[in-house]
């Protein structure tokens, strides 16, 4: 009984109320014909459109296409980025040679690579993978480098005095020590990745949630546009939640109960 | 025992105070029937096992938290009871355990903050007052430094000055010298004695360090383990201003033995209670 009471605190009610107010305001701006915003579709129409969408196979196909693109590009970025970050973080010499190149390319927004990517990769699909890869690659590398730098030297000394060899220090101290930064890099990277994917799909894609939203736009199908936006939001949210889940699994010492 | 009581303000009366956290849930009784008096201008030191509820009492006097039974009076005015709780104000200053100097303000800006937000002084006047205080304790060269550029001992001294410039009735210090080494502590004690002899505020000083307690206090209030009650009040009959050679005196050593015995009993109980809770 006490548990149930705790879920219905003042905060929960306020949150619920605020969402109701938000929907009501949305309805109201259309009703009052507020300039520009009056062109929004009614919330009810969006809900109807959403209900229709989830029953169609095309909608779920777009989910699948976007998810595959995200995870392929993202995974490749981690597989290349994490070792690269560790290497740059650990070796002064390697850092000297590679970091400047890295810093030269990093400030270029990933979306600016779209034309070159289309030009270089033989298929559109590959170029989208590449762009998604870029979206999270630089972020993960930077975070790993910082993560390695933030490991206290005392930990290394402690390990050495306990008789650890170089290999042990790498696997037992450096890798777990930089895990928190890796997770931060993955979380931030996932956000940027969705941003890049949406742009890439709108500009060059076939299928996918971004493309579907774009097609709704070219048909001026307002409710579908908003259904598309909400779907993208939900998909992005699920991906971030997945990363959090995985990070909890790998870092039991950081787990919050 | 000469209580340096020029203004006669700052008498605290704690009457049968109790505090229960989360009465409907976990129900932790932090204090029960805790009563004692602090005279105006008295230096009272509170000692007791960790987690026994000393800070709970401080929070109630300061106005950070409420109590669930009993009453606390400041100069015959009810400041805390289950039905009434007055808010934090400039008559009761707190110096925090981990320090709470604002890191984004320089030393003078920190010290002048109080008088300026209370609009008690104009800026030049407040600056002069702050510089005057700093130079009296030999810290005049740090006025434009930021707190994090200073050692923690100096930070703590500045924080005490920041409290004193407001001329509070009571200064409450919650283990202010925790984490300082023995040599730094000696400096801090001299500083506090010097300050106390000129300022004459009532002091409410929480500590774990028994030497500190006897060296500084007019009286040492020893608390029991949770729920906290007063176990014993030891009056310290050492002359003011306290000087370090006192620590070798016969009276001092007797006092220390007395306090140590009382505290040790409670510490053992607290330890056993901890063992029980773990099991």
């Amino acid at each position: 009984m006490r548990r149930v009471k705790k879920y219905f605190t003042a905060s929960t009610w306020r949150g619920f109320l605020s969402l109701m107010v938000f929907v009501a305001l949305w309805q109201l701006v259309i009703f009052l014909k507020v300039p520009y915003l009056e062109r929004l579709p009614y919330p009810a129409d969006v809900a109807t459109e959403g209900a229709k969408a989830v029953q169609s196979s095309g909608y779920w196909y777009n989910w699948k296409v976007s998810m595959i693109r995200i995870f392929t590009g993202f995974a490749v970025a981690q597989i290349i980025g994490i070792p690269l970050g560790l290497a740059i973080g650990l070796s002064r010499v390697f850092r000297g040679f590679t970091f400047p190149i890295f810093e030269m390319l990093r400030p270029i927004p990933p979306i600016a690579w779209i034309p070159l990517a289309i030009l270089f990769w033989p298929t559109r699909e590959l170029s989208i993978y590449f762009l998604v890869f870029l979206g999270s690659f630089f972020i993960i590398v930077i975070n790993v480098i910082q993560g390695v730098g933030n490991i206290p030297v005392s930990l290394k000394w402690a390990a050495t005095s306990l008789g650890a060899r170089r290999k042990d220090i790498f696997w037992r101290i450096l890798v777990p020590g930089s895990l928190p930064s890796i997770v931060v890099g993955m979380t931030v990277g996932m956000g940027v990745t969705w941003e890049v994917l949406i742009a890439a799909e709108m500009i060059a894609g076939k299928g996918g949630l971004g493309r579907a939203t774009w097609e709704a736009y070219t048909n001026s199908a307002f409710p579908s546009i908003i259904v598309g936006m909400l779907s993208i939001g939900l998909a992005g949210y699920l991906c971030s939640a997945l990363i959090r889940k995985i990070s909890d699994m790998f870092m039991p010492w950081k787990r919050k109960f | 025992m000469a209580i340096n009581n020029q203004n006669g303000y700052g008498a605290i009366s704690i009457r049968k105070v109790g505090k229960i956290y989360d009465p409907e849930g976990v129900h932790v009784e932090a204090m029960r029937d805790c009563s004692f008096e602090i005279a105006a201008g008295e230096f009272a030191v509170i000692v007791g096992p960790s987690g026994c509820g000393k800070t709970t009492l401080l929070n109630a006097i300061a106005g950070f938290d409420t109590i669930t039974s009993g009453e606390i009076y400041l100069d015959e005015e009810l400041i805390s009871s289950p039905r009434k709780q007055i808010k934090p104000d400039v008559d009761r200053m707190v110096v925090f355990q981990n320090g709470a100097l604002f890191p984004w303000k320089t030393v003078v800006e920190n010290i002048t903050y109080g008088p300026l937000v209370q609009r008690k002084m104009k800026k030049p006047e407040a600056m002069d007052a702050a510089r005057d205080m700093l130079s009296k304790v030999g810290l005049n060269e740090i006025e434009d430094k930021y707190p994090e550029e200073l050692s923690s001992g100096v930070q703590r001294r500045v924080e005490i000055l920041r409290a004193l410039i407001n001329k509070p009735k009571v200064v409450m210090l919650d283990e202010p010298f925790r984490g300082l080494d023995a040599i730094a502590k000696t400096v801090m004690h001299e500083f506090l004695v010097q300050i106390f002899c000129t300022a004459s505020n009532t002091m409410f000083f929480i500590t774990h360090d028994l030497d500190e307690a006897i060296f500084l206090g007019h009286k040492v209030v020893i608390m029991t383990t949770r729920p906290a009650q007063v176990k014993k009040i030891v009056t310290v009959n050492l002359p003011w201003p306290r000087e370090h050679h006192l620590k070798g005196s016969e009276t001092y050593l007797d006092l220390k033995r007395e306090v140590l015995e009382a505290v040790h009993e409670e510490a053992k109980k607290a330890f056993e209670a901890g063992e029980r809770e773990m099991a």
Partner: protein
């Protein structure tokens, strides 16, 4: 002075940096111009890019010595700064109030949490259809991008402030207004600036996407136009131009941050 330059030049990290970048350019040249490997031969080599960038009469009509180049830059900067300025102002204000007032937080946070996961670029279609004119739509999308990063980090900043600072301020006789300006604002600044850095990065990215998708003029638009007109060297020049602008803007934010947070800088120096 000369000694400092001399020791600077003797730094092995500098030598490695030069060698590294030369190797990178050499590899690029080798793959595209010398070996002309299958996919690589479509990409212009570094010499072509540099030639185009510094040309008095560029093939694409866009180089360091043409007016168009600077008009493109001016358009992009104007859009980014307008949106970023608005986002900073509104985002920081909202974030501070959300962190300061529990009730305001309870009411606004759920709405924020529903809108936030939507990538800013997914707003493009709606913005274009609803808002008057493409310019407003692009700026709105950049605004959204920077806004969420700023609000969220400001909020985190307020939450990061040690509770004792609030209690101490109350003891010292502060009114709510004093606490807001003396504790909440300076205490959250370090996080606010992190938010501004992130926001600036996302803003540039959204700008490029916005300009490619709907824009007229601006660097993103010119990149896509260069691509359609087979001016690949110009595409690369513009990518680097964007990189330089992005780098410069985040350096500017860092500089302002150092100026406003003297205590942080001194702590590091000590």
């Amino acid at each position: 002075m000369i000694d400092r330059i001399r020791t600077g030049l003797a730094n092995p990290q500098l030598h490695r940096a030069v060698v590294g970048i030369l190797l990178f350019l050499g590899l690029w040249y080798l793959l595209t111009a010398v070996l002309q490997l299958p996919r690589f031969k479509l990409i212009p080599d570094p010499l072509q890019v540099i030639k185009e960038w510094f040309s008095l009469e560029p093939l694409s009509g866009r180089s360091l010595f043409t007016k168009t180049y600077y008009v493109d830059i001016a358009y992009s900067i104007a859009r980014t700064l307008t949106a970023f300025g608005l986002a900073t102002f509104m985002g920081v204000t909202l974030g501070l109030f959300m962190g300061w007032s529990r009730i305001f937080y309870d009411f606004s946070f759920p709405v924020l949490e529903i809108l936030r996961p939507m990538p800013p670029l997914s707003w493009i279609p709606l913005a274009v259809l609803i808002l008057p004119g493409v310019e407003v739509a692009v700026i709105t999308v950049i605004f959204i991008a920077a806004f969420f990063a700023t609000v969220l980090n400001t909020l985190l900043g307020v939450f990061s402030i040690d509770r004792n600072y609030f209690l101490a301020a109350k003891c010292l006789g502060s009114r709510p207004k004093d606490i807001f300006f003396n504790i909440v604002v300076p205490g959250s600044l370090p996080f606010v600036f992190t938010g501004l850095q992130i926001g600036m990065g996302i803003a540039w990215m959204s700008l490029v996407a916005g300009e490619i998708i709907v824009g007229q003029r601006g660097l993103g638009y010119a990149i896509y136009e260069g691509y359609s007109l087979y001016q690949y060297a110009q595409v690369i020049c513009y990518m680097f131009t964007l990189g330089i602008l992005g780098y410069a803007s985040s350096a500017a934010i860092r500089a302002v941050g150092r100026k406003l947070m003297a205590w942080e800088a001194r702590k590091r120096g000590a």
